[in-house]
Symmetry: C3
């Protein structure tokens, strides 16, 4: 930190298990990745190459290498996993992870219908090779999954070997954990937290109001994901009570 | 592409006549232009320097040269044409195109009232010097042009020598083809398509939902415009059925 | 300017007292700062490092130096002043300004409750060391300050030594001068202007519609603040009547 301020909430440091921030890269250039790391490298724990953007990304290997050199692991968005699975190319996906020497992978069913037992078997298989993040929640706003189902799926996916489970929100923050308006499905989140330890969950929360809501519920060191690269610094100030939205909250503790 | 996925919709390649993407640069630095080309050069067919931003753009000539070296033609937004016309400086505009050795120009009447015969004469004149894109639709949300008028104007502008016609939407996507909410004027688009061949139209569609709508109506190789530089990669994944929004659509074909 | 257009509204040049543009940097890298200056240096009069982002900004000293070398002064957002004051660290804040050789500082009470006499004493104290910008308006949407209060506070803060007063709007443009929808509190602005000279006010107006509204009310050379770096060029075209939104307005003058 650049100067001393008293009574700043304590933050975990890398490598973090909680207070984790996952950023979404949906098409940065190599130079932009360097800039991103210069500014936000200490505050980003992992980077997702959004959905299947890696298919059309130029200099993909160089990009992954730049992140890796800064100790920031990279993984492919869950939609890519689904794109391989729906085409009966799961074996190709396994080889792809190997070819790019990735140490993380996401298993999700946001765009496809996947028997949950089968989803867990994918998690089990991949967990032998990489650290698995598994995602619960549909990208389809019409598919409302009831809370008990979220909990059951999260538990089974953790049991199958997922390192953490991700609560779905899309890039825009309007499905899964959130209503169409972006408002948090508060009852859902609270019910999940009665059953699943919070350190095992990453909440996708691209909008500032969503981040504020989770920080107020779970504190500075909540795990958050789908953060845009230029919102990492703003998020870090929210976590530290140094922006209007959470300024009062930490003072009152 | 970085790896093999089966059953990916086929995409046209540059130089494209359909499946064309027009990006809007509203003030990138030279280095940002280089980065943009690194990431998205294969997927961008032409760049518009938004409205009259070229008036205040630093190093304009160098910027145009960088794009040109990457085989991406640049043109000035239609508002600049209108700014010259309303000041009785059309001859200066012609000289300006020449001075910057531009090969494309836009003719529009989004902010001025222009007799349609006169608009067509401007198209005719400019078509002798450059490839003309002509734009139909007002930037004024209150000026609703009925479908038959859109069709009549588009046809006459193509007859006058326009290479393609552009359906207006602004940078934000809220006028012309769209309602205030950003929703597509579906009946308008469908009626236009009964009369004007789709390869001759570029649909301005800055919002993701608008892009999805046009891709679902006209397929991967619809011509789209006013795409922000950092949305070119996301758009390309939509065209390929590799993002949630169009994932199902192409699988069901 | 890159070419000659007749009847362009006249714009003040740097160093400006009116027609002033304050940009908000919420986490640019050093290279992004260089790019920003290349593109917009002539149009930006001062840069705010948003709220307390300077706490977590890497290479803070180098960043300030790059701006300074381009004759663009930098100051810390008012929330940082408040973070020091609430912790009884005002003396540390004074030393911090000195340590970074800043020539501007903001005094605000958007997130804390501060006796107005005390606020004015802070202004008085800091005005001996730096040029003070003081801000009126709460970041709390529920705290509606009536117009006569805005005026009284603005007048007292100017009397205490503030160079200009800032009308609050947050980064998003939704409190203080604006309703939740982003709409301008028109009556408030008009009443303020009956009492406070417009050159002494900087209006925070991050949204395009807000900028348009102020330009139409007060002309090209209105002082505007909280402009995102990539919106400086678009704003400059609005000031010059070279974008659809203000195109007619200046022609009709």
């Amino acid at each position: 930190m650049n100067y001393v301020l008293k009574s700043i909430p304590s933050r975990t440091v890398k490598p973090r298990n909680s207070g984790f921030t996952m950023a979404m890269d949906k098409g940065l250039s190599l130079r932009e990745v360097e800039d991103f790391i210069e500014v936000s490298g200490d505050y980003v724990d992992i980077v997702k190459l959004g959905w299947a953007t890696s298919f059309v990304t130029k200099k993909l290997r160089e990009k992954i290498d730049i992140y890796r050199a800064a100790d920031i692991p990279v993984y492919f968005g869950g939609t890519l996993f689904e794109a391989f699975v729906i085409r009966n190319q799961f074996d190709d996906y396994v080889r792809l992870l190997d070819e790019y020497q990735l140490s993380f992978a996401e298993v999700s069913d946001g765009s496809i219908t996947l028997d949950h037992g089968q989803k867990c078997r994918y998690i089990e298989t991949l967990a032998k090779q990489v650290t698995v993040l598994s995602e619960v929640g549909s990208k389809d706003a019409a598919k409302i999954i009831p809370p008990y189902k979220w909990i059951e799926q999260m538990r089974k996916e953790l049991d199958a070997g997922a390192w953490k489970v991700i609560g779905e929100a899309r890039e825009g923050g309007t499905v899964g954990l959130f209503r169409d308006s972006g408002e948090v499905r508060q009852g859902l989140v609270e019910e999940i937290l009665t059953q699943i330890p919070e350190e095992q969950i990453i909440w996708e929360a691209p909008q500032k109001e969503q981040q504020v809501w989770f920080i107020k519920l779970l504190g500075s060191n909540v795990n958050l994901g789908n953060i845009a690269p230029n919102e990492i610094i703003p998020l870090e100030t929210l976590r530290l009570g140094l922006r209007g939205d959470t300024f009062d909250f930490f003072l009152n503790l």
